[in-house]
């Protein structure tokens, strides 16, 4: 039950992030949890696809925590479904996607500190 509620909450958050432009001061970063992303080759395949997208700005990949964080370029926004499709196309599975009001640089610092 908790899992269902969590999934619903994440989906709602993702839809909200898609439907709305980021609030002022919110960089519009989306954090994806990626199953199967365990090696540099996996991450490199995902990075290559995402950096080809015109809206992709700073990007951070954390193998240990299976996280891909994507920040849009100024004035643009990240389309969650589009990024999900690219990750799936690279051969991996997205288990969660969440808008986070942080820059990729801040996420990098936070995750490295853990």
């Amino acid at each position: 039950m908790n899992r269902i509620l969590t999934t619903l909450a994440l989906t709602a958050a993702a839809l909200a992030a898609q439907a709305q432009s980021p609030a002022a001061g919110d960089p519009g970063t989306i954090r994806f949890s990626v199953n199967g992303m365990v090696c540099a080759f996996c991450a490199q395949g995902i990075e290559k696809r995402l950096t080809k997208m015109p809206e992709t700005g700073p990007l951070y990949i954390n193998l240990a925590q299976k996280v891909v964080a994507v920040e849009p370029k100024p004035g643009m926004r990240i389309d969650i479904e589009k990024v999900k499709a690219e990750i799936v196309e690279a051969g991996y599975a997205v288990s969660a996607a969440q808008a986070v009001p942080m820059t990729v640089a801040a996420i990098r610092t936070q995750m490295r500190a853990k």
Partner: protein, 238 residues
Amino acid sequence: MDLTGLRHALDVSSLLRPLTLAAATLALCGQAAALPMGPYESSMLMLDSTPATRSVSVNHAVAQTWAPGVTLQRWEEPAAHGASLLREGAGLSLTHRLHRWNLPQAQANLWLVGEAGQLRRAGGHGRSAGEGGYGALAFMADYETTRVYAGSSLKLLRSGGGLRYDVARLRTGFSFWEAEYEGIQPWFIVEAARTRYGVGSMREGTQLTPMLRLIHRRWFVEAGVNRDGGMFNLMFNH
């Protein structure tokens, strides 16, 4: 193929049985996956070198699970009096990912690689020189987390005149620490490889090789030493 040839061909199963069983066990456990091809729309270059073998292969992933390519290989088959017989092949390959398991903390894959081409054989020691077609089939399985790796492969190559070259491999290892994607990831890997050559081959046996593996973004390098000398593998994904 005559009856003797057929008997010898079937005999490979008994010689490779321990490693084949281990490979099958890994596969049945859902543990699979080495990376003989890169992600969709990427190209993979693979170089392998040991004292007795050299190979270079390139393939391009035209789909998530398919990668056609080309491969060049040469190996020295042990012969009498410490001599060796040289084999050189050039062929086309087709790599297919049969299945991938994307798990929360791991990845596992099953692969099938087919290969066909032309093989040149040096003669000597009662065996004839010549040139002819060859075919090869390889099955691979691997399982990997950010800290642990296990993989197995079995490659069977056949050519005219009873020539064959079969290699079964088991690999396992661990990473020294949980590395960042942006850093260099060092691994310790041990490989057990068993090679079977044609009828009357002078040497067969299991070769154990400890290796250091370094991965950095699109580069993958392995270097190791066994009783025959050094071995080196390189992969580059573009």
